[in-house]
């Protein structure tokens, strides 16, 4: 019931924030209406970071506690993170064409490291399919998830460390967050969208976690079924062999 309420609140928040960002907030003086894409691009990028951070932390937790519930958290966050990172890249491309004049530039460190981040976590999801032993899969995936998370700070600070097309971080420092250069109306619209998207992310995480737990139970049942079938098959050939002499002896 609480999850349903969270889902309804998240949906209403996204609708309200979207109406505000698309219809109420004025167009940017320099970037025009293209700037409105930032209201979905920035929250998507934030949720990509958050998701992969959760995957890495859950991976560390799994290696420490060996609790498969943490693996369920890790895979849920990774799947949702892949979606939001893909959205961030798409939103960035749609903004880049009218503002920069190009959809994509491989020389830009932020763009390239973000593409790498997406590839790493798609790889993480594919890597999980290599084994059906839950404990082995969870341990291996945890290591991959932790190593892949090294790219998160590289993506974030790439705009500070190297020169490229991309502007510097939107929420780069607490000072920047408290004293933003943009007018309050733009900042409120962006923060509202970030909050609304984060609520939706929380709801998606709960539902995806529930799915991961049920899938694990079904998988475990199937595994136990296969083990008992293999045991029966190992015993079964002996039975006809034992019965054969009796059948031959019968008139």
């Amino acid at each position: 019931m609480k999850t349903r309420i969270l889902g309804a609140v998240a949906l209403l928040a996204v609708i309200a924030a979207a109406v505000n960002a698309l219809l109420i907030v004025p167009a940017d003086l320099n970037q025009g209406d293209a700037q409105r894409i930032m209201y979905v691009h920035v929250p998507s990028a934030w949720l990509g970071y958050l998701s992969f951070g959760v995957t890495a932390l859950a991976g560390i937790g799994y290696l420490w506690r060996r609790d498969l519930r943490l693996d369920a958290v890790a895979v849920s966050a990774a799947e949702i993170g892949v979606m939001f990172t893909a959205f961030a890249i798409w939103g960035g491309m749609m903004w880049g064409k009218p503002v920069w004049g190009v959809y994509w530039q491989w020389e830009d460190p932020r763009l390239t490291t973000t593409a790498l981040l997406l590839a790493l976590y798609v790889g993480y999801l594919l890597f999980r399919r290599l084994t059906d032993d839950p404990a082995r899969r969870a341990a291996r995936a945890a290591v991959v998830g932790i190593i892949a998370a090294i790219d998160i700070p590289i993506v974030h600070f790439s705009v500070e460390w190297w020169r490229g097309l991309h502007q510097r971080a939107t929420f780069g420092s607490p000072d920047k967050l408290l004293n933003p250069a943009a007018p309050a109306q733009f900042v409120i619209a962006l923060v509202a969208m970030v909050v609304a998207f984060t609520l939706a992310w929380a709801w998606l995480m709960i539902r995806r976690y529930q799915l991961a737990r049920i899938e694990w139970q079904i998988e475990e049942h199937g595994r136990l079924g296969r083990i008992s079938a293999a045991r029966r098959a190992a015993v079964a050939p002996q039975a006809p062999a034992a019965q054969a002499p009796a059948e031959e002896a019968a008139p």
Partner: protein, 52 residues
């Protein structure tokens, strides 16, 4: 006004994609719950007698 196709493409794919993922997730969850329920029901049924 020329930027609006980009705005709509950006927002459309992101909100539409999130909506599609949500529907797909709910469908996967419903199917998994049904499968889990079927397994539990099968486990609760009395085991068939072995052939003599």
């Amino acid at each position: 006004m020329t930027d609006w196709p980009f705005v709509l493409a950006g927002w459309g794919v992101i909100l539409g994609g999130a909506g599609a993922y949500t529907l797909l997730l709910l469908r996967r969850l419903r199917n998994a719950r049904q499968a889990s329920l079927a397994i539990r029901r099968a486990a609760d049924e009395p085991a068939p007698r072995e052939r003599e």
